[in-house]
């Protein structure tokens, strides 16, 4: 597979690449186009308008930001996602360190437990989670939602961080030990600073999970409007009888594009995260 491809092969390959690029980008481009279209139409009836912006206007963005609850939803989502990230990383780091560095009874069992929890999707636990939250008055409350998210993210964060601590050579900590540092000191002063990039990455993943989640948010905060997260709010807009298409598209652009950028930036950490079932125990 080393030799230079023939002309025909080359043409086929470029054709596939261009076709796939269109396939990959068109839906997003479509949303951008629709967000700048005047009037309450998502569709345009001229062919050119489906591929290039013909009459661009920011009217939809203005209406969305100033005349709907969109900004409140964004604020709610930012709050929930940020706290989910912070909570999962701060609770998961020490656990990840312990599972990476120490050998203790129940370690294997703990790792299996993580897998078991990972296998259990949040939707299936919704009824008991709702009961727990309502028992403590946290139903319809952002803090309740954060706790529900945090537990799901916690396993992920712990695995990621354990995997990262595994790659940090133990020699530095051993040197610290010889100088008289206990395990807590070596964790705080040696391992934590080294793990900083991974802490940030894990936090960003936690943020993205909280930002994009819909099902738990829809059940745990069904009302009032002012407490909803942006995914729930936008889903509701898209299912109204008279859908304000342009505003919906504008909202979609504002919600999706930042996440795309963050994700592309984090790309190289992804494989580590997604194959986390394979991290050696």
């Amino acid at each position: 597979m080393n030799r230079p491809p023939t002309l025909a092969a080359r043409i086929v390959m470029y054709a596939v690449l261009v076709g796939m690029t269109l396939f990959a980008l068109y839906p997003i481009w479509f949303a951008i186009l629709a967000s700048g279209r005047a009037g309450d139409r998502l569709y345009t009836f001229n062919l050119a308008g489906m591929f290039v912006p013909t009459q661009w206007t920011f009217e939809n963005y203005r209406t969305l930001l100033y005349e709907t609850s969109f900004l409140t939803w964004i604020k709610n989502s930012l709050f929930v996602a940020t706290l989910t990230a912070i909570a999962s990383v701060s609770l998961g780091t020490s656990g990840g360190f312990a599972f990476s560095r120490f050998r203790f009874r129940g370690r294997e069992a703990g790792l299996i437990l993580f897998l078991a929890i990972q296998a259990f999707p949040g939707i299936l636990a919704l009824v008991p989670i709702a009961q727990i939250l309502s028992a403590f008055g946290l139903y319809r409350n952002h803090w309740g939602l954060i706790m529900a998210y945090m537990s799901g993210q916690l396993v992920f964060a712990t695995w990621m961080l354990k995997g990262y601590f595994d790659t940090i050579p133990i020699d530095l900590e051993e040197a610290g030990m010889i100088d008289g540092a206990g395990p807590i000191q070596s964790f705080v002063h040696i391992a934590l600073p080294l793990a900083r990039p991974m802490l940030a990455t894990t936090a960003l993943f936690g943020f993205m999970a909280g930002w994009g989640e819909f099902f738990l948010a829809n059940i745990l905060i069904p009302a009032p409007d002012a407490r909803k997260t942006v995914m729930v709010g936008m889903f509701q807009i898209a299912n109204e009888v008279n859908i304000p298409w342009g505003q919906f598209a504008a909202g979609a652009v504002l919600v999706i594009i930042p996440i795309l950028l963050v994700f592309l930036f984090l790309q190289r950490y992804l494989e580590a995260g997604l194959t986390m079932g394979g991290v050696k125990g």
């Binding site: 030799r3 390959m13 020490s94 259990f120 299936l124 537990s151 099902f215 919906f248 996440i259």
Partner: protein
């Protein structure tokens, strides 16, 4: 670590593990346990509240903990008689005579594949293979096709669909996974092969562009709504078709179209994962092998079949297993596209109502929390077993690399 042991060691480890464990205990482990208890009761719309005077609910039911339990006119819920009634309701149809016969038919129809697998194993041990492995697999598939005609597999499939909603959504979801995986893998492999070709210009550019759908999957609920607008009755596709003076169908109201669309959109989200992983696999294959094959005059196709695919196996197998699990658990994409519809009749799950959506819809529709608990427990056992199996596969294939 050196220099510390005994009680201090135990305490330190506890100190480290405690925050993580505590977080998991409250919102992961406890809901699981509570689910098991709920699954044994008739809790639901008509029996919503616990009887907090009973010791068992005083302990496990959080609404009883704080002293002012929820009160209502309805009877409190209690254990089913027999206690496993909810499980019997869900799985009963499978263990009846008709269900077992139908299962048997399907198993028989799959026997040719087993035979193909066995033949391939035998051939692998011989010095020269009489038949290439893909031909054996093809033969197996043809065999499945022929036998499924004889054994009336469509009839068996329909029998199973009628054996209860839980079994129905499970079979549909498994069918969905089976349809999706070859598509994901093929498209991912094609793109990986192209991106692995050093003679193509702009590789880095394409590589970044082509993973955009993967990025969009983190906000799948929104992105799928955008996709949905293509397929609405007066959506983009029908508008384009309209230019040719054809009236397009209402895609999402047709069971088959809805299924196809859900596959297509999920292909959009998932091919980047396969592409990136397989590209990594391709790059780990030593170039010398291709050079040697080149010297022997092997064609591109021969190199693909005899070098690339066998050496990709250690990467391909785990990602297929992993992706099967996530595809089985698909929720947001389908919810935005079809809401599980189109619905065939009252009380019946829609054509694209896969397991997670079914579980989710039950919260509003039947509100039979007891039965949902049983649903969750069964699914948990299945998913956990599958996860352990995938872990094993990953370990085995890791061994192949080292």
């Amino acid at each position: 670590m050196v220099g510390w042991s005994g009680r201090r060691k135990t305490l330190t480890i506890l100190l480290f593990v405690a925050p993580t464990l505590l977080g998991l205990l409250i919102f992961s482990i406890f809901p699981l346990v509570l689910n098991i208890f709920i699954s044994l009761t008739n809790r639901g719309k008509f029996h919503p509240n616990p009887d907090c005077t009973q010791t068992i609910w005083k302990i496990v039911e959080p609404t009883c903990w704080l002293g002012n339990p929820p009160k209502g006119l309805a009877e409190p819920f209690g254990f089913q008689t027999p206690v496993y009634q909810n499980y019997a309701d869900l799985l009963g149809g499978l263990f009846g005579r008709a269900g077992l016969v139908a299962l048997l038919h399907i198993v028989i129809a799959l026997l040719p594949l087993l035979a193909a697998w066995y033949l391939n194993r035998r051939f692998d041990r011989q010095l020269t293979r009489p038949v290439p492995s893909w031909m054996v697999w093809l033969g197996g598939l043809v065999g499945v096709f022929l036998v499924s005609r004889l054994a009336d597999v469509p009839g068996a499939y329909n029998t199973l669909l009628r054996a209860g909603n839980f079994i129905m959504v499970n079979i549909r979801t498994i069918l969905y996974v089976v349809v999706c995986m070859p598509l994901f893998f093929t498209l991912g492999l094609i793109m990986a092969l192209i991106l692995n070709n050093r003679h193509i210009k702009g590789l880095t550019f394409f590589r970044v562009i082509l993973i955009v759908p993967w990025a969009a999957s983190t906000v799948a609920i929104m992105m799928s709504l955008v996709w949905q607008f293509f397929f609405r009755e007066r959506g983009t596709i029908n508008q384009l078709v309209g230019l040719l003076n054809i009236k397009g169908p209402a895609f999402l109201n047709n069971s088959l179209w809805a299924f196809v669309i859900v596959v297509l959109v999920n292909l959009w989200y998932t091919y980047p994962f396969f592409m990136v992983s397989l590209l990594g696999g391709l790059q780990s294959i030593p170039q010398e092998l291709y050079e040697a094959a080149e010297v022997d005059g092997a064609s591109w196709w021969k190199q693909l079949i005899n070098i690339t695919l066998p050496l990709l196996r250690p990467i391909a197998l785990p990602i297929i297993v992993l992706s099967s699990l996530t595809t089985y658990k698909i929720d947001a994409v389908v919810w935005s596209l079809t809401r599980g519809g189109p619905i065939a009749g009252a009380g019946k799950p829609g054509a694209t109502e896969f397991v997670m959506l079914h579980a989710y819809k039950q919260i509003f529709e039947t509100q039979a929390y007891g039965r949902m608990g049983a649903f969750a427990v069964i699914l948990f056992v299945m998913l956990f077993a599958a996860t352990l199996y995938s872990l094993r596969i990953t370990r085995i294939t890791k061994g192949a690399y080292e």
